[in-house]
Amino acid sequence: MTRETREVAVPETVLPPDPAASNTSLRALLHGLPGVDEVGAKERAADLATRSIKTGAKARAIDLAIRMIDLTTLEGADTPGKVRALSAKAVRPDPDDPTVPSVAAVCVYSDRVAAAAEALAGSGVKVASVATSFPSGRAPLEAKLADTRLAVADGAAEIDMVIDRGAFLAGDYRAVYDEITAIKEACGDAHLKVILETGELATYDNVRRASWLAILAGADFVKTSTGKVAPSATLPVTLIMLEAVRDHYAATGRRVGVKPAGGIRTAKDALKNLVLVNEVAGDGWLDPDHFRLGASSLLNDLLMQRTRLSTGTYPGPDYYTLD
C-alpha cells in the first residue's frame, strides 16, 4: 500500500476563533470532540501491537528508537555524579560500538540541569528538565514559574511540565490552559512538553480532551505520564494522543509531538510505539523532533536487541553499562 500520510479534514467548527475565551468556550470545544470508545480504542491498539517487525526494518527501528529516547533519571537520590554518568551514556550509549546513535535528551530534575548541561555541552544531546513541582504539580504558580525559569537559565532546552489534574477533573479547563500558557512563556525558547498524567485522568475521553487543551495552550509535545503514577504510558493512551496531534495538524498545520513515558522497558515496547506512530499519525512524526520515548532501562534492551540482530547471538546484561 501507499506510504503517504493523508491529511484528515477537521470541520471548522472544531476550532473557534478564541477557544480559551472562557471556561464555557473551552468546555464547548473539548466536549464537542468526537468521543472515544474504550473497547474499540483498545482493540485497535492491540491489533497494531501484533505487527511483526523483522530484520532490516527492525534494525532501523531500533536506531530510531534510540535517537528518540529521553534518557531519564528522576529520583530523590540523584546526584551530580549520577547525572554525569547518565549523560555520558546518553552521548555514547555503547562505548564499544560507535555506530550506536546518541539519544535525544537527558531528562532530570531542575536542580540537576546544570550538571547535565555541563556534561552534555557540545554533544548535541539536549537537556530536558521536569519542572512545575513534578510529579504532583501541587505548588503555587509562582514557584512553578521560578522552577521553569531557573531550569532554562541553567541550560535546559526542554521543559517537561505537569498539568493541574485537580483543576482538569474539576472542569476548570481555563485554569489548566492559563497555567500552560504561563509556563510556555517562562520557557522562552525552550520546548515545552506537557505531561497529562493520563493514569489520573481515568478515561480516554479525558485523554483526548486534555491533549487538545494542552495543544491549544501552546504545547510543543504532549506527554503521557510522570512515571510515578500507574498506569503510565499504555498503547491505547498513546494512540489517542497521536490521533489528537494528527487531527490538530490537519486543522492547523502545526505538528505537535508526542512522548509516552513510564513503563516502556523493552525494545518490543518501543517498536510497538513506533508502529502506532507509523500507522496512526504517519511518517511526519517518525523523528525525534516529534516523537520521544521517556525511559531509562529501555536503552540497554535496545542495545541488546541491536547486538542480537548484528551478531545473531543473545547478549547478556553484564556486557552493557549500568548508567
Partner: protein, 485 residues
C-alpha cells in the same frame, strides 16, 4: 503529503513458516472413522488462491459415498453415540477443543494456504474461535434440559451439513459442535475450494477416539452437496452459503420430514450517527467490510452515514484504508489477503463494473496487486443510491457502498430496504438511540459500536432471505433437538 521516496519505517516481510503443515499430495473421504477413496475414484485439485499453487488432490464424493457416509452416521447414532450419556459425549467435544488448541498454528497456516485469508485472521480469530465453539458446546452435552427449548430434549438423528469457503473450519465448528453436543451424528461437506482443514479435523476426530461414524467428511462440489442434502437418510439439513442455493435446498426438502436451517447471504447496513466515536467507527467500518476480504455474509457492505459527519468520516476512512496492507496472506502484517477463487473474483469485478456503469463513484487506495493469484483492491463506492446494484446485491468482496441519511427514521428505512436481514451496525454514543435503532432494524444480529463480533455463546442467523434458524448460544441448540410433544 507526497509519496516518500525512502520510507522511514517500511516493514520487512514477516512470513509465517509453512513448515508446521505437512501437506499430503492427496486426501480421501472420511467415512465411518476411516479415510477411504471415493468409489468413482474421481478427484479434484485445491489451490492456494494467493499464488494459484496446486496444494493437493481431494476425492470427489458421489452418491454411493454419500450413501455410505449417511449409513455410517445412522449406525453411530443408533449405536455407541446415541446410547452415550451426555456427560461422556461432552468429554469427546472437550478433547476436540483441546487438540484444536494444541494444533492451532498448523490449522491456521493450512487455512491461510487453502483459503487465502491473512494468517493474522486465522491465527487470532478463526482457529481460537473454532476451539471455543467446541469448548462451549461440550458443556451443553449434559445440560440440554436447561436449554429451555422444551421438555425431554432428544437428538434429531443424522445431520447433513454443507458449509461455505469463507471460514472453512469455523463454519465446520458452527455445524458440528452443536450437532454432536445434542447427540446427533453428522455428514459434512466442506466447500469445493477449501476442503483441507476439514480433513485435518477428521484426523483430529480419530485422535480423540471419537466413535466411528459420528463425524463423516465428504469432499466434493455442488453435486456432492445436492446428493447429501437430498439424501433420504438425513434427518436434518444445515446449510450456510448463498441465498440462491438456500432456496434450492428449501424447495428440495419441502414435503419431507427433514428439519432445515439456513444461514444465507446479507447486505448489512452499518449506520453511523453524527455523535459516534468517529475513530472507532472508522475501525468498525473497515473491519465490517474488509475483514476476511469482505467474504463475510454479515459484512457491513452498506455504510449509512449521517450527512452532517459524512465528509469527515469519509476522509478518515480513506486515510485508514490507505494504511491497510494487502499481500502475501502468510505475512504476519498482512491485513487483506487473496480472493478465494477465480469465480468469486469475477463476480466481484462484474458488480463493481455495474457500480461504475450505474454512476456511483469508486475509490481505491494506490495498491499494487500481486501478479499471480486472485486479488482485488479495497474499493469504496460513494454517491450510491438504494437503486444501485452495489447497494442491493451481495458482492461478497472488499467493496463498500456508501449512502447517507439525515434522520434516524431514514437510516432505519434505508437499512431495512433489502430482502436480506442478517446483520447491521449502529454507531452512536447515545444509548437510547442505539436501542431505538436496534429495535427497528430487521436483522438477526445488531452490533453496536463494534462489528463482526462472534462468540459461541451468542446466537447468529438471519431474518428474511438471509435464512432461518440460529447457530451458537442456547438458541443454536434448538436446530439439533426434538422435544416431547
Amino acid at each position: 503529503m507526497e509519496e516518500q521516496a525512502d520510507p522511514i519505517f517500511e516493514y520487512a516481510p514477516a512470513p509465517e513458516s509453512r513448515a508446521v503443515v505437512r501437506l499430503r499430495s492427496s486426501y480421501e473421504l472420511f467415512i465411518d472413522g476411516e479415510f477411504t477413496p471415493a468409489e468413482s475414484g474421481e478427484r479434484m485439485a485445491t489451490l492456494n488462491p494467493a499464488d494459484e499453487e496446486h496444494l493437493a488432490q481431494v476425492s470427489v464424493a458421489g452418491e454411493p459415498d454419500v450413501d455410505r457416509a449417511v449409513a455410517a452416521a445412522r449406525r453411530a447414532f443408533e449405536g455407541a453415540w446415541g446410547a452415550m450419556p451426555g456427560a461422556e459425549r461432552g468429554k469427546y467435544l472437550f478433547r476436540i477443543a483441546r487438540i484444536l488448541q494444541e494444533r492451532a498454528r498448523e490449522l491456521a497456516v493450512l487455512e491461510t494456504l487453502d483459503n487465502g485469508k491473512p494468517i493474522k485472521e486465522t491465527r487470532d480469530v478463526d482457529i481460537p474461535m473454532v476451539a471455543a465453539y467446541f469448548f462451549y458446546h461440550a458443556g451443553w452435552a449434559d445440560k440440554l434440559d436447561y436449554a429451555g427449548m422444551g421438555p425431554a430434549p432428544r437428538p434429531v438423528g443424522v445431520a447433513a451439513q454443507v458449509i461455505p469457503w469463507n471460514f472453512p473450519l469455523l463454519m465446520l465448528a458452527w455445524k458440528i459442535a452443536p450437532a454432536l453436543a445434542a447427540g446427533n451424528t453428522v455428514v459434512l461437506k466442506p466447500a469445493e475450494t477449501t476442503p483441507l482443514s476439514a480433513l485435518v479435523f477428521a484426523e483430529i476426530c480419530q485422535e480423540t477416539g471419537l466413535p466411528p461414524g459420528v463425524v463423516n467428511i465428504l469432499t466434493g462440489a455442488g453435486a456432492t452437496g445436492r446428493s447429501l442434502v437430498g439424501h433420504p437418510g438425513a434427518d436434518k439439513v444445515a446449510f450456510t452459503g448463498s441465498t440462491a442455493v438456500g432456496r434450492e435446498i428449501a424447495r428440495s426438502v419441502a414435503g419431507t420430514d427433514k428439519r432445515l436451517t439456513l444461514e444465507l447471504g446479507g447486505k448489512g447496513a452499518n449506520i453511523v450517527y453524527d455523535d459516534a466515536a468517529l475513530d472507532q467507527a472508522v475501525e468498525g467500518v473497515v473491519s465490517g467490510i474488509f475483514f476476511n476480504q469482505g467474504h463475510v455474509c454479515c459484512a457491513g457492505s452498506r455504510l449509512l452515514v449521517q450527512e452532517s459527519v459524512a465528509d469527515e468520516l469519509l476522509e478518515r476512512l480513506r486515510a485508514r484504508i490507505e494504511r491497510l496492507r494487502l499481500g502475501d496472506p502468510l505475512d504476519k502484517n498482512t491485513d487483506i489477503g487473496a480472493i478465494n477463487s477465480a469465480e468469486q473474483l469475477e463476480r466481484i469485478r462484474e458488480l463493481v463494473r455495474a457500480g461504475d456503469e450505474e454512476g456511483a463513484e469508486s475509490w481505491s487506495p494506490q495498491c499494487p496487486l500481486p501478479e499471480k493469484g486472485y486479488w482485488f483492491a479495497p474499493t469504496v463506492f460513494t454517491g450510491v443510491t438504494q437503486a444501485h446494484r452495489v447497494a442491493r446485491e451481495e458482492i461478497f468482496g472488499p467493496v463498500l457502498s456508501v449512502l447517507t441519511f439525515r434522520t434516524p427514521d431514514e437510516a432505519v428505512a434505508k437499512a431495512n430496504n433489502t430482502p436480506y436481514g442478517l446483520s447491521a451496525g449502529v454507531w452512536t454514543e447515545k444509548g437510547s438511540r442505539m436501542l431505538w435503532t436496534a429495535e427497528r432494524l430487521r436483522a438477526g444480529v445488531i452490533w453496536s459500536n463494534t462489528f463482526n463480533k462472534f462468540d459461541p455463546a451468542s446466537p447468529f442467523g438471519g431474518y428474511k432471505e438471509s435464512g432461518y434458524g440460529r447457530e451458537g448460544g442456547r438458541h443454536g441448540l434448538e436446530a439439533y433437538l426434538v422435544h416431547a410433544a
